[in-house]
């Protein structure tokens, strides 16, 4: 079966179409979802290293906490930023 040309992701409940193979982090940033979490002191934080070292880009993808800079965007993924997840608590 040929590779799909585009992937449709759900980012914080919003359906977004992206080129396949880009990282989930890039998909979030391109969609304008830049702060990813709040720090212990309540300040917004974004990604820093882009390579898997800083752990700042963690988000919940299909129920698992992952580093989005190491996660390729795939069709059907459900992505939730930690600051959105935290709002439920």
């Amino acid at each position: 079966m040929p590779e799909p040309t585009l992937a449709v992701l759900t980012l914080d409940g919003r359906r977004v179409t992206v080129a396949p193979g880009i990282t989930v982090l890039a998909a979030l940033q391109n969609a304008g979802l830049s702060p990813l979490r709040h720090s212990l002191s309540g300040e917004p934080r974004g990604a820093l290293c882009g390579m898997g070292s800083c752990y700042e880009c963690r988000a919940v993808v299909d129920g698992l906490l992952v580093r989005t800079c190491l996660t390729p965007a795939r069709d059907g993924q459900n992505v939730r930023r930690l600051l959105e997840v935290a709002r439920e608590f």
Binding site: T10, V18, A19, G21, I22, T23, L25, A26, A27, Q29, N30, S34, P35, L36, S39, L40, S41, E43, P44, R45, G46, A47, L48, C49, G50, M51, G52, S53, C54, Y55, E56, R58, D62, G63, L64, L65, C69, L70, T71, P72, A73, N78
Partner: protein, 427 residues
């Protein structure tokens, strides 16, 4: 837990790792090449594909098609130990933990960026210089974005050129080193045929972009998102409105796996190797930026030497000492030229956060004798990144040496530690 045995395991699929795996396989070893990233190539060749023109494409193709090499992407070493002459790596993957045994291990774990804290560096929009480049290679759309590149080292130029090529508006490159240092590096690069070509290509791509030597980052400003960056040139402060700040102060060898295996480090904190790239532990070799920061050519050469040495192909190494000497001289110039100068480094305020994971501020950290005391009293370095960001920063700010590496090297899902399948919760 899955348990398997290989002739050689190569940790890290950047230029050094790819070259080491190919060379070891050519010598008849069954090699496993693993990397945390979803694809091979390391940070410098991220996004390159097998078969494309140039060294990256050729190496990726050879590694992908060699019957003696198995590539495992998305795999990170969480534990490592040496018993007598056998080495065991425990690796975390999406499918769970795998235990890998090998008589030979080649460490090509590369380097991470050194970040230094300054007022506003925690704002979204402030990225590592290499980080922004990696994100852009990973699909971040930088078209039309105003970017300031700051910090130190030739990586800044590569990052600026790469971002500009992707459509970003690079407002300035701010280098903390002085002009004499930068000029010395330029002349050293010009003497190496490959580097000279690279330098001219970079210069052409950066035409019109201001390059300010002797320039320091003072602060980043914005409300919840970066809006401007203030730099100091001489006695003058310049504020530039921008969307992204790409900032990094050189690279730090990533030695955690080496430390777990017991490999000795040198005075700079890199893995100590001999002329055959052998570490202090029998059967463990290291190559590339984990040994010294010197760029892709040095990494390829060292990967080749390590692959040959691990597989006993000594006759192929006749020319290696001469080439290594050229690389060593280049690395020494690089180190001298971009040595960090306290007067041109950002100065954190007492309220500036140093440890981003645990929100520990500069004012809380001054005065501790070392890591252990600071960790116990403040939790600095005890968050998710386990000191990967604040460790090198504290080393520069307070002179502490990061110590006490222990497994697990990465945070793991509890299900993996319990050796149970990870169940996805419904979306």
């Amino acid at each position: 837990m899955n348990s398997e045995a290989w002739d050689a395991v190569v940790v890290g699929a950047g230029p050094a790792g790819l070259m080491a795996a190919r060379t070891a396989a050519e010598g008849g070893l069954r090699a496993l090449l693993l990397d945390a990233q979803p694809g091979s190539g390391g940070q410098i060749w991220r996004g390159a594909v097998a078969g494309q023109k140039g060294t990256a494409g050729d190496l990726l193709r050879d590694v992908a098609s060699h019957p003696g090499i198995t590539v495992m992407s998305g795999a990170e070493v969480m534990a490592a130990e040496t018993r007598e002459r056998a080495h065991t790596l425990t690796v975390t993957t999406a499918a769970g933990l795998r235990q890998i045994h090998a008589e030979r291990v080649i460490l090509t774990t590369g380097a991470t960026e050194r970040f230094l804290p300054f007022d506003g560096w925690i704002l979204p929009g402030v990225f590592g210089a290499g980080g922004l480049q990696a994100m852009s290679k990973g699909g971040l759309d930088v078209r039309g974005k105003r970017v300031v590149v700051a910090g130190s080292g030739p990586l800044l130029l590569a990052v600026a050129a790469g971002l500009r090529q992707k459509g970003a508006r690079v407002l300035a490159v701010a280098e903390q080193a002085g002009l004499p240092g930068v000029a010395a590096f330029g002349m050293a690069a010009a003497r190496l045929p490959g580097k000279s070509r690279e330098a001219w290509a970079l210069a052409a791509r950066l035409l019109g972009v201001p390059y300010w030597a002797d320039c320091a980052v003072v602060r980043a400003s914005g409300q919840n998102q970066l809006q401007s960056v203030t730099l100091r040139r001489g006695r003058r402060e310049i504020t530039l409105d921008c969307d992204y700040l790409a900032v990094g102060f050189g690279l730090v060898p990533e030695t955690r796996v080496a430390a777990l295996l017991g490999c000795a480090l040198d005075g700079t904190g890199a893995v100590q190797v001999n002329v055959w790239q052998a570490t202090s532990i029998q059967g463990v070799y290291a190559a590339g930026e984990v040994c010294s920061i010197g760029g892709v050519d040095g990494a390829l050469l060292e990967g080749f030497v390590a692959g040959c040495a691990a597989s006993g192909q000594i006759e192929r190494l006749r020319d290696a000492p001469r080439r290594a000497e050229i690389q060593r001289r280049f690395q020494a110039t690089l180190e001298r030229s971009f040595a960090l100068r306290p007067k041109r480094l950002p100065t954190p305020l007492p309220t500036t956060i140093v440890c981003r994971c645990e929100d520990v501020r500069h004012g809380e950290l001054r005065g501790f004798a070392g890591w252990t005391a600071a960790k116990l009293q403040t939790r600095c370095g005890m968050g998710a990144c386990q000191g990967r960001v604040c460790g090198p920063a504290c080393e520069t700010l307070y002179g502490w040496r990061f110590e006490g590496v222990r497994a697990p090297l990465v945070p793991l899902p509890l299900a993996q530690l319990l050796d149970e399948p990870i169940t996805l919760s419904p979306p």
